[in-house]
């Protein structure tokens, strides 16, 4: 299996191959290649709907993660007994939200999507940012992932955590 990519929106022109390659790079850095992952690209309307249902926040956002394993210790990879459980979960990317952010901050869309996906994958691996301590831990992890990504690709991405200091 691998990464299941779905594009359910028509607002943002996506480069699927580029997004898939970046996600594969992140998986390689984290050593999670054997796990399946779902990446679903949605527009503001859809992400707002999901945010409202699952987090009671009636606003669009950049990413929502749905972990397969709900109680992982941050960064501890699951040890599944069955092949059916080789699954980390699903990440919904609010691509329209991210695109609007990129326009405001003059950022490259696909670079921003990579950062947001890294953040989302961290959530699937048990990282949270509810407390100060958790926030620091997650920021460290994201920084490591993206510095490795930058080293491998020659790009210059920064963690999402730096830009937001509160839960979205």
């Amino acid at each position: 299996m691998g990464v299941i990519l779905r594009n359910l929106q028509k607002v943002v022109p996506l480069r699927r191959a580029r997004l898939r390659k970046d996600v594969d790079t992140l998986r390689h850095i984290l050593g999670i290649q054997k796990f399946d992952l779902g990446v679903i690209c949605v527009d503001n309307q859809r992400i707002q709907q999901i945010n409202s249902i699952y987090r009671k926040k009636n606003l669009p956002t950049d990413v929502l993660s749905f972990p397969f394993y709900e109680d992982l210790r941050p960064g501890k990879l699951p040890c599944p007994l069955h092949r059916d459980e080789l699954n980390l979960g699903d990440i919904f990317l609010g691509v329209e939200f991210v695109m609007n952010q990129c326009r405001e901050e003059s950022l490259d869309l696909h670079g921003a999507l990579t950062v947001v996906t890294a953040h989302g994958i961290c959530h699937l691996l048990g990282y949270r940012h509810e407390t100060e301590e958790e926030w620091t831990e997650m920021l460290q992890r994201e920084s490591y992932i993206l510095s490795e990504y930058n080293r491998l690709t020659g790009r210059h991405l920064e963690p999402l955590m730096k830009r937001c200091s509160q839960d979205r």
Partner: protein, 236 residues
């Protein structure tokens, strides 16, 4: 189906042995243990014959009607009137933004073509016959549920199913040309193909507009069909 290819069912018979009449039984029966079984009546139709359903469609053809059916005719008039006044009809051939594009109709087959960057030509052909309506599912989730919110089934708006190199100019799809089925395709390759199509204007937006166009054509064909049927039923 219990009817398919079966012969007449075997007739069941029960021998009830009673110890008192052992002397009357044939020799073979004497060597068998005397077993008393409860008797289950089985009704067997003496004229039982197997019935077979035709495997394929059954066609019924009517050359003309000699007597009109008023109720049917009136129903059709109402139906046509209702459809004519349907606001959907006003959206005849909704505008599809095509650079140098054109639409050709051959009965129920529509062909949209446009040139890409002045060089190659991209053609999208579809038949509105047997079109499948989109599957809308009401999302039932915990927490807040919005009334009147319908969600499409979670799948890509459009997907590539098969890819093949076909001889240029031929209108029929040749089954002898190697056809790649995307079910078992490398996903990276699939994404490259989707990007390739998107660069040429075939993306989710286009798929959406295509559905609108297809709906409008289907609607128009349906009204024409009702009118033809009305004429036929009135009887000539």
């Amino acid at each position: 189906s219990p009817l398919g290819g079966s012969c007449c069912p075997p007739l069941f018979s029960h021998h009830v042995h009673s110890p008192g009449s052992a002397a009357e039984l044939p020799d073979a029966a004497l060597s068998e243990p005397a077993v008393t079984r409860p008797f289950h009546p089985v009704s067997v139709d003496a004229e039982h014959t197997a019935r077979y359903l035709p495997h394929d469609e059954v066609y019924i053809t009517l050359s003309h009607t000699s007597s009109g059916d008023k109720a049917f005719g009136d129903f059709l008039s109402d139906e046509i009137k209702e459809r004519e006044e349907d606001p959907e009809k006003q959206k005849l051939y909704p505008r599809i933004v095509l650079e140098d594009g054109e639409l050709e109709m051959n009965g129920t087959e529509a062909k949209l073509s446009r040139s890409v960057s002045g060089e190659s030509k991209i053609t999208v052909t579809f038949n509105i016959n047997n079109s499948i309506p989109p599957n809308f599912e009401e999302e039932v989730e915990q927490g807040q549920q919005k009334p009147n919110t319908k969600k499409c089934h979670e799948s890509d708006i459009f997907a590539i199913r098969e890819v093949s190199f076909q001889p240029e100019g031929d209108t029929e799809w040749k089954e002898t040309c190697y056809t790649l089925n995307t079910d078992s395709l490398d996903w990276a390759l699939y994404d490259h193909m989707m990007d390739f199509l998107a660069d040429r204007g075939v993306d989710n937006t286009f798929a959406d507009e295509l559905m609108e166009l297809s709906t409008a054509i289907e609607h128009q064909e349906y009204i024409k069909f009702l009118e033809d049927l009305q004429g036929f039923v009135k009887c000539n």
